[in-house]
């Protein structure tokens, strides 16, 4: 665990600068309060979200090799704020790291741009904020920073497929608890964990344009299960999950034929609340599913 300043090459991803701007803003706020310096990779490209690989796997690998190379130029480890970026990038990194001649082939076009992805250079890692928070920042250190404990707030974790499967390429050998980190963070912030069926299931986002009903049935079912289990809100480290669980919540409610209305928080927002930030500062008014109930629950707790 670290007491020193943490500095990372920060990949904010596409969606946090698109339809979930509240994520980008709350990460900036939380980074400052925690003492994590974010050096934004503003020339980096989309991770491909697993979709580009459905057309051309080498293309996805090269695009992400470029992002890793840009990060390596800073000499810093990389941090992302999206389960999907993590999964898509880890898949590509696994292939790049597996074979030196494949890596050299990919680096051919990157070298023309003065870039090169070097396996293991400077102990290079790419971690999402959830992993970094637990593994590098430390839960004890996080707990010490809590100004407004989330006492009595019942939070359901929603991971996003891309950080919990497949275990063999997401570092679970070294870090077997990565699929219970959200629970650990919720408790470190003083909140109460709500167990429910859908915590590690699929939100349905990847098929929202191709099989809308299946997609929204998934989202609606998991939100419904969390409500039945008594959750005050969900928390997720993936903005794409957030889109299907929050932005599509009214539509999902129609598909599963029940009223929903459960707030869905981004991980930095949950952390930000515990650090004493106000809901408005964290962009919570931008959500589709009202966060009013969460604010009410926390109103009793002095910041």
């Amino acid at each position: 665990m670290s007491d020193g300043q943490i500095k990372v090459a920060y990949w904010p991803g596409c969606v946090s600068r698109g339809f979930t701007p509240e994520l980008h803003g709350s990460m900036a706020l939380v980074g400052e309060r925690l003492g994590i310096e974010l050096v934004e990779l503003d020339r980096a490209n989309c991770c491909g979200a697993g979709i580009i690989a459905e057309h051309n796997q080498e293309l996805a690998d090269t695009l992400n090799a470029r992002t890793f190379a840009l990060a390596q130029q800073t000499g810093l480890a990389m941090m992302n704020i999206c389960s999907t970026c993590q999964g898509a990038q880890s898949e590509c990194q696994q292939r790049l790291d597996a074979d030196s001649s494949y890596r050299a082939h990919i680096n051919e076009v990157l070298s023309g741009q003065g870039l090169s992805y070097e396996k293991g250079k400077d102990g290079f890692t790419n971690k999402n904020f959830l992993w970094l928070l637990v593994e590098d920042y430390g839960l004890d250190r996080l707990a010490e920073k809590v100004v407004r404990p989330l006492s009595g707030l019942r939070v359901g974790p929603f991971y996003g497929c891309y950080v919990v499967r497949p275990k063999e390429r997401l570092g679970y050998d070294e870090f077997p608890d990565r699929d219970i980190y959200l629970e650990q963070v919720i408790e470190a912030l003083g909140g109460e964990v709500v167990e429910y069926d859908g915590a590690r299931k699929c939100c349905g986002f990847p098929v929202i344009t191709t099989n809308r009903e299946t997609s929204l049935r998934q989202a609606g079912t998991h939100v419904g299960d969390a409500l039945d289990a008594g959750a005050d809100c969900l928390v997720t480290p993936c903005p794409l999950c957030h889109l299907n669980l929050d932005m599509q919540q009214p539509e999902a409610a129609k598909v599963v034929n029940r009223d929903l209305g459960l707030a869905v928080l981004h991980l930095p927002q949950l952390v930000g609340l515990a650090l004493g930030a106000e809901p408005k500062q964290l962009g919570m008014s931008k959500h589709i599913a009202s966060t009013g109930w969460v604010e009410e629950r926390l109103a009793g707790v002095a910041a």
């Binding site: 020193g4 500095k7 339809f19 580009i52 057309h55 051309n56 470029r66």
Partner: protein
């Protein structure tokens, strides 16, 4: 030897009751399997506990089940590890939860009906070779290298763990599914088969076909043999995409729209993506399909809500195509990558190639975290 509790989901149809939980205490070495535990229960406590099993060595595929919610083989799950997994959060002595496979009707206890959810779907993909012309007098001769590609699909032992774990199937039981589609790739990728295009059309044009997969990786985690069914589905999408086969779900158009968008913009232009997924190119806009119009109209309420709450107020977010490109010369760098990758299209498969274990030069890890100790250590080294 250690003591464990197995909490088994039971169902005895003769009794007339619904399913119920029953706990059993077992005593065996932690390196033995959950299946060994169940067989001990059968032997010592209740012979009526029903489970399919045979080889006990992860090759017959009989003992598919869910252990602590994770689909897999009973014989391949160490009971000591299963106990640890059940107790990671509470560090106590919670039981190991054993259930029949998911997405399937339960016949009795841990025995499921695999006919309608597995075998029917396997048959649906025409799981036999369709060569053309006269059969050769002896064998079909092909280059060994040309058959290596499908050895990953061939590793399937038909255990059903992937079907059990499939989250698409949970929401849409008509989805062809991971096992059947992995089996389909075994023939699509076989050089002796002469109906590749027909197979791809069939699997793609089925609305519950290759574009129905929700990309959740559950089947990859569940498979005890490394088949990685989702990867086979993605290979089918790549092959179907190369043939330009359009599916009724807009999946092909969505992939193309995404790929083209990143070449132009470098990051996600959501409005452009939605537009191009439903109404691609000029033709798509002049003559949109009924499904496209339906899709676009259905997405309107969501977009309007996003504008209302302030998520999407800037013109670049709602008007397709004006989202900025990457700064500096970065977009040109992305374009150069496209040119190179589209020319080569190499499909590197770790299952086939393995890792080459070329270790990088050991480096002082300097990235991200500089603890006070590390700083002090480096300083004392330098002095």
């Amino acid at each position: 030897m250690a003591e464990y509790t197995l909490k088994v989901r039971r169902y005895q149809p003769e009794g007339g009751e619904g399913p119920y939980w029953e706990e059993f205490g077992v005593e065996l070495d932690p390196t033995l399997s959950v299946l060994d535990g169940l067989l001990q229960v059968k032997d010592r406590d209740d012979g009526s506990l029903s489970v399919r099993c045979s080889c006990r060595a992860a090759i017959c595929g009989s003992c598919g089940m869910k252990i602590n919610g994770q689909s897999g083989l009973g014989c391949k799950t160490q009971i000591g590890e299963a106990h640890e997994a059940a107790n990671r959060r509470n560090g106590g002595d919670a039981p190991i939860v054993v259930e029949p496979m998911g997405n399937m009707p339960v016949i009795k206890d841990l025995i499921t009906d695999m006919e309608s959810t597995h075998w029917e779907k396997i048959r649906r993909v025409t799981p036999w070779l369709l060569p053309h012309g006269e059969p050769p007098e002896r064998e079909y001769v092909v280059e060994p290298e040309s058959m290596i590609d499908i050895t990953q699909s061939m590793a399937c032992i038909q255990c059903g763990a992937c079907v059990s774990s499939c989250l698409s199937m949970e929401a849409d039981p008509d989805f062809i599914g991971p096992a059947a589609l992995a089996k389909a790739y075994r023939f699509v990728g076989d050089p002796r088969d002469a109906e590749t295009k027909e197979r791809l059309h069939d699997l793609t044009e089925d609305p519950h076909g290759i574009y129905d997969c929700t990309h959740c990786f559950s089947c990859i985690d569940a498979c005890p043999k490394g088949v990685a069914p989702m990867d086979q589905i993605m290979r089918l999408r790549r092959k179907a995409g190369e043939e330009g086969i359009v599916d009724p779900n807009n999946g092909h158009n969505h992939v193309n729209a995404f790929v083209n968008m990143i070449e132009k913009k470098g990051t996600n232009d959501e409005a452009l993506l939605v537009q191009e997924s439903y109404a691609p190119g000029i033709k798509g806009k002049l003559k949109p399909t009924r499904a496209a119009i339906k899709g676009l109209v259905e997405s309107l309420p969501t977009v309007l809500r996003a504008i209302k709450t302030g998520k999407a107020r800037s013109p670049a977010k709602v008007i397709p195509g004006i989202h900025p490109k990457l700064p500096g010369g970065a977009q040109d760098e992305v374009k150069a990558i496209y040119k190179h990758a589209e020319e080569h299209r190499e499909e590197f498969n770790i299952y086939i190639k393995g890792e080459d274990d070329v270790e990088p030069e050991p480096d002082e890890p300097t990235a991200a975290i500089l603890t006070d100790e590390a700083k002090a250590a480096t300083e004392s080294e330098e002095s």
